[in-house]
């Protein structure tokens, strides 16, 4: 019982780290909204979560347990997966390219080679592909999901504590 509960906390902890990582990437996009030739980036949250936790909601049936369905909904409803460029991962052909030096992904860190470029719906003259409205929506959405993850963890902790205290 306790093992399963801490397992859920661990899962949400990793998801939280990934959410923070995505928040950082979206903040970079917003910061560079006026930079000429900047390409907006994002990563596929579902793939990153599956890589970090070994749990892919698309390929495996949900394991029994209270927290699992909510997790699956949070992971598969991520709009980042749909908004990211479908053109495959970015190839790094030079040592100075982004992600080339980052090495393999460890734990919940995002391998930056999995970073994708957004496709601009309305290209601008300075070749900047940041869509500020979309980035702000993504940012708000990601912040909300981060908070949801925090609540899941808090709920698990409370459940565990009340079981320990026997109240």
């Amino acid at each position: 019982m306790s093992g399963r509960l801490t397992e859920s906390i661990d899962f949400h902890g990793r998801a939280l780290l990934l959410r923070a990582e995505r928040q950082k990437v979206i903040a970079s996009n917003i910061a560079n909204a006026d930079t000429p030739r900047y390409a907006a980036r994002d990563f596929d949250f579902r793939a990153a979560l599956a890589e970090a936790t070994g749990y892919d909601p698309a390929s495996r049936p949900a394991p029994a347990g209270g927290a699992a369905p909510a997790v699956r909904a949070a992971a598969s409803a991520s709009p980042g997966a749909g908004a990211a460029a479908p053109a495959g991962t970015v190839a790094t052909t030079h040592a100075g390219h982004l992600g080339a030096a980052a090495g393999a992904a460890t734990g919940a860190r995002v391998d930056t080679t999995a970073m994708r470029y957004r496709v601009a719906e309305q290209p601008s003259l300075d070749a900047n592909t940041v869509d500020l409205d979309r980035e702000r929506a993504n940012f708000a959405d990601n912040a909300l999901r981060y908070e949801a993850g925090l609540r899941f963890i808090n709920g698990s902790v409370r459940t565990l504590l009340s079981a320990i205290r026997g109240e």
């Binding site: 950082k24 982004l98 980052a102 925090l150 902790v157």
Partner: protein, 134 residues
């Protein structure tokens, strides 16, 4: 912690945008300035933004250079002006006031956006600090 880096990223953007606002203010202040005795009028300045990518996938922004506008100076016919030349023309700066106003609005909007990003990150970090306490 990645959320801490949001402050660095948005902080760099806020600093770059405020520098842009500074340049706009300087351009607007000198919009009507006439050429001095050397015949050189004020040249409008524009900031050039450059992103500063880090290997972890984040990218801040900085002002790489402040470029001078190469547009020709304005020449206004004002024969009574003490700085008028033999034909009665006064050479003024090449600042385009409309462009500068647009620049100002864009800079202030971007500034606000980045401040909001920092506020959100701060709220999230605060809630993270209270994790497991409620």
């Amino acid at each position: 912690m990645s959320l801490m880096k949001v402050f660095n990223i948005s902080g760099s953007a806020v600093s770059a945008q405020s520098q842009r606002l500074n340049v706009v203010a300087s351009n607007l202040a000198n919009a009507e300035a006439v050429a001095g005795p050397d015949g050189q009028s004020y040249k409008a300045r524009q900031v050039v933004f450059q992103s500063t990518p880090a290997p972890d996938g984040s990218a801040g922004v900085r002002v790489s250079t402040i470029a001078e506008d190469a547009a020709p100076p304005k020449r206004v016919f004002e024969p009574g002006h003490p700085m008028a030349d033999a034909q009665g023309y006064v050479t003024q700066s090449n600042v385009n006031v409309v462009e500068e106003m647009v620049n100002m609005i864009s800079a202030s909007r971007s500034y606000q956006n980045n401040v909001e990003v920092m506020n959100t990150a701060r709220a999230l970090l605060q809630k993270t600090l209270q994790m497991g306490q409620s």
